[in-house]
Amino acid sequence: MTPGVPKPVLEVRDLHKSFGGIGAVNGVSFEVHEGEILGIIGPNGSGKSTLFNCILGQLRPTAGQVTVDGQSVTGMRPCDLNRLGVSRTFQLLQVFPQLSVRENLLLAGQEHKGTMLSRLFGPRDAGLGGASDRMIEFFRLGPVADQKAGGLSYGQQKLLDAAMAFMGGPRLVLLDEPAGGVNLTMLANLRDRLKAINRERKSTFVVIEHNMEFVMALCTRILVLAEGRVIAMGDPETVRRDPDVIEAYLGH
């Protein structure tokens, strides 16, 4: 690597994943640099979520390399990877319904600080009282902060889900369909919050999304997957006009 050129935050090299001989991800390579928001789009079954799961250690890739800040993290357990500063949300809502909004946020941050002993004998909020208050305010969850997460509306749970991914102060966040099932008002709210975090904290995002308008407005660069391969990559305008992309989406 030549000096002066910043190392990518995330680098994926020739990643493969097959299930019983059927390839879901077939040699995907890309880099994401600090502060970037990379969108990943592609038809259903094109391997987007499998790619995420391989990067994040939920699945072990059949072949290929994943590095974060130059360190190989291929096959690392999700909890260890998370504590290195890589966070995620899932395609389906994943909050803890029996915990309050505040408790959900405390949980999302508590393993990033202190030791097992300090988590047993130390303060109940693990020293994250202020951080959770700021996150509640930032994602505008104040009115429901002490309600059980299971009782929130779908859109509010989506916001909480995203807020949890940011509690540990991650360098890199992978969001799997953050806009899915969210109404227009809430969508604008979510996009606005994500952009603000990206600007203020210089955190780097990779976003899987079907909602093209949302992707075009949020992302700085877009990668298009089809049948487990990268068929196009570039800024939103270029990708929108790419004939391969149009064909993959509209098909025959």
Partner: protein, 329 residues
């Protein structure tokens, strides 16, 4: 919780503790024995509730851990080791074996895990029964002494009850601290959504093993009190039936409620005594009551209590969350 409710809870708890301290002075020795049995069993049920109610890990082996604790204490105290040393050994051994039993839980869950732990319970029962050189086989171990603490003998039934109750209080306070700490939060996360917990940095493997070890360790502590309570042990009381009974106490009391084990154990220990008038029918009545309770209130007696207090409380005015509009998924 508002200040008034918290005050009420503290006053009620202190009242309950006072009643339970005063209770033996008004009871015949058999009654004191039953109350002691309640205190001892409640400790094992608190451990099981920690595993099932909080961390979501099913175990049908809690009876075996009470047995491991009881045999350890019986063997050590009949060979001259002071009770406090036997307690540490019983709790420690159960903790360690519980940790090992947690490994299958990293691979299987729910009813599969139940069967793994069931097999373990059977295995331990066979060891109690067949390893005569260690456990005395079906002849058991007799002459288990009750401890003396700083010159205070716990030999009389009332003293021993107070001793058991004091240990129960310590266990309850420690558990209260635990479930309100970040560990307790991680346990609940393990129960509700282990995949998401893992992605948030929660080392689910470590917490699963810890839940097993801590819950089983409390089984061992209960055993360390059970041996000097009955002063004679053999393999019979630690069979699968006992483990199922302990599970029933967790469920009847209310799985995942702090007070559940106290209530569930009270019902399971006292109800058979109260139903003695029914003679041979008492098991039928007991079983029918359990079926009715669980059919109408699967969250147990504490859940029922919660529903009643919610129904009686005036409905508070909800603040309008105007900016956060509802969505249609």
């Amino acid at each position: 919780m508002t200040g008034l409710r918290r005050l009420l809870a503290i006053v009620l708890s202190l009242g309950a503790v006072a009643v339970l301290i005063a209770a033996p002075f008004d009871l015949k020795p058999y009654g004191v024995y039953i109350l002691s049995l309640w205190a001892v069993t409640a400790i094992a049920v608190i451990g099981l509730n920690l595993m099932i109610g909080y961390a979501g890990q099913v175990s049908l082996a809690q009876g075996a851990f009470v047995g491991i604790g009881a045999y350890t204490t019986a063997l050590l105290t009949t060979h001259g080791v002071p009770w406090i040393g036997a307690l540490v050994a019983s709790g420690g051994l159960s903790f360690a074996i519980g940790w090992l039993l947690g490994y299958p839980a990293l691979r299987v869950q729910h009813h599969y895990l139940a069967f793994v732990t069931l097999a373990f319970n059977t295995l331990v029962g066979l060891i109690f029964r067949n390893e005569d050189w260690l456990t005395g086989g079906i002849g058991g171990i007799s002459g288990i002494p009750r401890p003396s603490l700083l010159g205070w003998s716990t030999n009389p039934p009332r003293s021993f009850y107070l001793f058991c109750f004091a240990v129960l209080l310590l266990v309850a306070l420690a558990t209260w601290w635990l479930i309100r700490s970040p560990w307790g939060r991680a346990f609940v996360a393990l129960r509700e959504n282990p995949v998401r917990a893992l992605s948030l940095g929660v080392d689910t493997r470590r917490y699963t093993l810890l839940a097993f070890a801590l819950g089983s360790g409390l089984g061992g502590v209960a055993g360390a009190l059970y041996a000097p309570l009955v002063q004679f042990i053999d393999p019979t009381p630690f069979g699968l039936g006992f483990s199922l009974n302990l599970l029933l106490m967790v469920i009847v009391g209310g799985s995942g409620f702090f007070l559940g084990p106290f209530v569930g154990t009270l019902v399971a220990v006292l109800l058979p005594e109260w139903l003695r008038f029914a003679q041979g029918y008492y098991l039928i009545i007991y079983a029918a009551l359990v079926i009715i309770l669980l059919a109408f209130c699967p969250t147990g007696l504490m859940g029922l209590f919660g529903r009643l207090t919610t129904a009686l409380r005036p409905v508070p005015a909800r603040p309008a969350a105007a900016t956060l509009t509802e969505t249609v998924p």
